[in-house]
């Protein structure tokens, strides 16, 4: 009975052919697909750098790379992953594609600005590739002065400008989402009927718009210091390197919430759909997203407890840092409560959601160690911190992103992927991830510092475990590329609503037509309506 479903003749993918129809498109869905291809390539590149780092760290002596090259490896791993994969990942791909259909709009508020954002992302990546082929950069993705402004002779300026330019791509995406969500909702779609995916992206856009300009001006200051010999952060002329850290972390802490909030939005949708139950405590989860966005801006100096800030301000920042942990805890509890008395099925998106639970719990809770002053003095800049932010960024943001990709893939291309292979990849990613990063917590508390390419012998066993785990994780990430490409041609036709989900985006054909809706939809009911007739048995396996 499945073969009765056929792909719609006319949809956004075959509405116009040739390079020009793609490169000059104003359709948010095509821009999302181009973002998907671009950031997947950058994710692969970042992964190669990570592999280099992990292979180097298998031996204490650090004999695979020269010290300089190792420093370039971890720096470029950081720059590529943060600026060119994690910041744009879920917002630019899933957000771009799904927010207009979710709120009943034909397109984002500013389609041309959306295309401009993509071009700016490419220009930023071009700057980075220039730096890469001109010999790389070795300042760490944090560009701390005075090392980045006068002690490093590698390509700091092109890389910093690459990050500066890709920052504007993030600002424009954020601006587009804010105006779209405010001004282009379908009639009857009040704020409290919005899917939580849209709430999460609204909070993310607030951070993108408020934080990114500050790191942009910080990069400009480092640029003028290096290019013209100005002395804003130069200690020999009275400048203060700690001022750079303040300005940098004012953006870079909220930036980690840019990475995790969209993933939280995806998890809210996936958990609700696969337990066929409305989300537990809708308004609490929605306001938690806003709370994370706002509190994210007042806590940044917990990255600087040992950087020489005053004892008094360290205590204030430590106190405020706990306020950010509470909304994340509330969200996690609400997701768990959603499962209670649900009708849960474990297709791949739900497996990724369970993986998200396991990893985000550990990632979030280890944040408490770093917010507590006493422990942070010991574990700051050690592998404990590396493990913490990888649990949040890779365990949280990438699991959420992959879960979302698996959940909406039928909507993107109209075809299903192999359920068996995708479950294998979800399990491989979960196992490989834990084997890679859990030993690093122990290494961190043992005192192994970050960014070391040679380390004392007693850390070797744990490092070998971590490198082995990285191999498994690598395979887990490569599998989806295979079965997603395979599904483009051979996947079975998915139809408009393969999972029986309840969003507006599931009521239009997949892949959707260019104008999304034939006529303006009007919304009446609550967001997560799972009455039996919606759960269409025909499609559920």
């Amino acid at each position: 009975m499945l073969d009765t479903l056929k792909l719609p003749e006319r949809h956004y993918l075959n509405n116009g052919h040739g390079l020009k129809s793609w490169l000059l498109t104003k359709d948010h869905k095509r821009i999302a697909i181009m973002y998907l291809i671009s950031i997947s390539a950058m994710f692969l590149l970042g992964g190669l750098f990570a592999a280099a780092v992990r292979v180097e760290l298998m031996t204490p002596e650090g004999d695979l790379f020269l010290a300089d090259n190792y420093n370039k490896m971890f720096t470029m791993h950081g720059v590529v992953m943060v600026f060119f994969f994690l910041i744009p990942s879920t917002p630019a791909v899933l957000g771009n594609f799904l927010i207009p259909p979710m709120i009943g709009a034909k397109d984002l508020a500013f389609p041309r600005i959306n295309l401009l954002s993509l071009y700016i992302f490419w220009v930023g990546a071009a700057f980075f590739f220039y730096a890469l082929f001109a010999g790389g950069v070795d300042t760490g993705w944090t560009f701390y002065t005075p090392f980045s402004s006068f002690a490093s002779n590698t390509n700091v300026v092109p890389t910093a400008l690459g990050a500066f330019i890709s920052g504007f791509s993030s600002i424009l995406t954020g601006l587009n989402f804010i105006v779209t969500i405010h001004r282009m909702r379908a009639p009857g779609l009040t704020w409290f009927r919005l899917p939580l995916f849209v709430w999460a992206h609204y909070a993310t856009s607030l951070i993108q718009v408020l934080g990114t300009p500050v790191v942009a001006i910080t990069i400009i200051m480092v640029f003028v210091e290096r290019a013209f010999g100005f002395g804003i952060f130069d200690p020999t002329r009275g400048g203060d390197p700690v001022l750079f850290q303040h300005l940098f972390w004012f953006y870079s802490h909220p930036a980690v919430y840019i990475m995790i909030l969209p993933a939280m939005g995806v998890i809210s949708e996936v958990v609700s759909t696969f337990s066929r139950k409305t989300i537990f405590g809708y308004s609490f989860v929605a306001f938690s997203s806003l709370a994370i966005a706002v509190f994210g801006f007042i806590v940044w100096a917990h990255h600087m407890f040992v950087a020489g800030i005053s004892t008094y301000s360290a205590m204030v920042f430590s106190f405020l840092s706990f306020s950010v942990a509470i909304p994340s805890a509330v969200k996690t509890f609400n997701w768990a409560a959603t499962l209670y008395k649900g009708a849960i099925s474990f297709e791949t998106p739900m497996l990724y959601a369970y993986g998200f639970f396991g990893l985000f719990l550990i990632g979030g809770l280890t944040g408490l160690f770093l917010a507590t002053l006493g422990v942070d003095v010991h574990v700051h800049d050690t592998y404990f911190v590396v493990a913490h932010f990888h649990y949040i960024m890779v365990g949280g943001a990438i699991m959420g992103y992959l879960g979302g990709l698996h959940f909406w893939w039928p909507k993107l291309v109209g075809r299903m992927y192999s359920e068996f292979l995708s479950r294998i990849s979800a399990i491989l990613v979960f196992v490989g991830f834990n084997l890679t990063f859990f030993p690093q917590f122990i290494l961190g508390y043992m005192g192994m510092p970050r960014r070391y390419h040679a380390y004392p012998d007693e850390f070797q066993v744990l490092n070998i475990m971590s490198s082995a785990g990285a191999g498994v994780l690598g395979i887990g990430y490569l599998l989806p590329v295979i079965y997603f490409l395979w599904s483009l041609k051979y996947g079975e036709v998915a139809g408009p609503n393969p999972w029986g989900a309840s969003g507006l985006e599931w009521q239009i054909p997949s892949p959707p037509p260019t104008e999304n809706f034939k006529e303006q939809p009007v919304v009446h009911g609550e967001p997560y309506e799972y009455t039996p007739h919606v759960a269409r048995e025909a499609n559920l396996v």
Binding site: D107, V179, R183, F228, G231
Partner: protein, 227 residues
């Protein structure tokens, strides 16, 4: 949230204005979206300049004598003239937007050209000031010369001076460029009382750039002028 569909009936004839883009229901919705978008952009500009003001605030508290000494070497007259010029350009800009609102095409073009002219005057004075600094070797870096005991910290003042006024001048140049395009569109009669959003958005941007200079002038030129 007003129901966008019902609102459109009240303006029947404005429904299919040539400038209405396909994905908006009504002109009103399109205008509100553009206005909100512009204001969110100005929000990013506030924080963009905010980082520089933070650096200025810190170093002024630490090295007040050096800032006062360095600020005294900058002539007040060009700064004051520039402030007046920029406030004048804000006036002509506001009148230009008003002319566009009331569908007076020639008045709009006249006021916009006046705004561009005043913007160019501002940039001209800036070029004169920068030339003066180069002469006195007050550009931070290798060939910075200053006999005052606070020579090192004065370099920080001048670093901030050049970064802040340079960034502001860059925004002026971009503003003049946008203004020229808008003036050309106005001359072609693309705007009327139903669709003048580009002029209004250019006005918001221009007023913001004037706003930044209103703060830059006292902070950089008048640090401590009394004896």
């Amino acid at each position: 949230m007003s129901n966008a569909v019902a609102h459109a009936e009240a303006h029947g004839h404005a429904e299919h204005h040539t400038a209405l883009q396909h994905h908006f229901e009504t002109m009103q919705q399109q205008k509100e979206a553009s206005t909100l978008g512009m204001w969110v952009f100005l929000l990013t500009e506030v924080l963009f300049f905010g980082g520089l003001f933070m650096a200025y605030l810190l170093y002024r508290t630490w090295y007040f004598e050096a800032f006062a000494e360095a600020s005294r070497t900058i002539a007040i007259a060009p700064g004051a003239i520039n402030t007046a010029v920029l406030i004048g350009s804000s006036l002509t800009m506001a009148l230009g937007v008003r002319a566009a609102q009331t569908n007076q095409r020639t008045a709009t073009v006249r006021w916009l050209i006046a705004t561009i002219f005043l913007g160019l005057v501002f940039l001209g004075v800036k070029v004169y000031e920068y030339a003066d600094k180069f002469e006195h070797h007050h550009v931070p870096g290798a060939n910075f010369i200053s006999e005052s005991p606070w020579a090192a910290q004065e370099q920080i003042f001048f670093s901030l001076y050049f970064t802040m006024t340079g960034l502001h001048a860059l925004h002026m140049i971009v503003g003049v460029a946008i203004m020229s395009v808008i003036t050309w569109m106005a001359a072609k009669g693309r705007f009327d009382e139903h669709y003048y959003t580009p002029v209004e958005m250019a006005g918001l941007y221009w007023h913001f750039v004037d706003l930044v200079w209103i703060y830059l002038f006292p902070l950089l030129y008048l640090v401590e002028r009394h004896n």
